[in-house]
């Protein structure tokens, strides 16, 4: 079956622009995660959804970052007034069950954001 897909794959924004990154999780997956991966680093947790509920947003670096999953499937990560330090790969992952630490997370290919 189809895996996790993300769009766009690449995004170039001028500093100060708003961007929206989309994630299509695996159908039926309850849990959805967003991670940020800087060049040469491991992914860092941003936020977690269980269905449409955002249960953890402790990793969002500032109030310029906003995520939603209104119908419990597709999710959008929005970054307002982008800054150069926002340049990174944004990864989305989904897993089948809620709150099961042994569950495998399936990652999308990521969106590479470059802020000029």
């Amino acid at each position: 079956g189809a895996g996790v897909s993300q769009s766009p794959r690449y995004k170039v924004a001028k500093r100060g622009q708003d961007v929206a990154l989309r994630c299509d999780p695996i159908s039926g997956h309850v849990s959805l995660f967003w991670y940020q991966q800087a060049l040469g680093q491991g992914p860092e947790f941003l936020t977690y959804f269980q269905n449409e509920a955002q249960l953890d947003k402790s990793g969002l670096p500032s109030d310029r970052f906003f995520a939603e999953r209104p119908e419990g499937s597709v999710s959008t990560l929005k970054i307002q007034r982008t800054q150069q330090e926002d340049s990174a790969v944004y990864l989305c992952a989904s897993s089948l069950h809620p709150s099961r630490p042994m569950d495998t997370q399936y990652f999308g290919p990521g969106t590479r954001l470059t802020v000029l």
Binding site: V4, S31, F33, Y35, G40, Q41, G42, P43, E44, F45, Y48, Q50, L55, D56, S58, G59, L91, A93, S95, P98, S99, R100, P101, M102, D103, T104, Q105, Y106, F107, G108, P109, G110
Partner: protein, 113 residues
């Protein structure tokens, strides 16, 4: 805060040898530890999960150990192949709402023919 360390230097080995990667962590006692593979331009792919009460786990040419006393996990690939060349990430399951992962920085493995 939780700190997870992986050797940031690339590991270069000859085809057929055993590759051993290390993951050390502090300030936490995770119940689970996972290893992922990441190729350039792609998202991480799950390889293995090991529980705190498991000392060792194997899957084909892969072997993972988990020493909760040393706070260390070792990841080995036996009979390595050039196709094994990738970045390998260890991740702790933090067990808050959901099962978010805290990743190390990854180690790049290069297997030369």
């Amino acid at each position: 805060s939780q700190k997870i360390e992986q050797n940031s230097e690339a590991l270069n080995i000859q085809e057929g040898k055993t590759a051993t990667l290390t993951c050390n962590y502090t300030n936490y006692s995770p119940a689970y530890l996972q290893w992922y593979r990441q190729d350039p331009g792609r998202g991480p792919v799950f390889l293995l999960l090991i529980r705190e009460n498991e000392k060792e786990k194997r899957k084909e040419r892969l072997k993972v150990t988990f020493d909760t006393t040393l706070k260390q996990s070792l990841f080995q690939i036996t009979a390595s192949q050039p196709a094994d060349s990738a970045t390998y990430l260890c991740a702790l399951v933090m067990g808050n709402a959901g099962n978010m992962l805290t990743f190390g920085g990854g180690t790049r493995l290069m297997v030369k023919p």
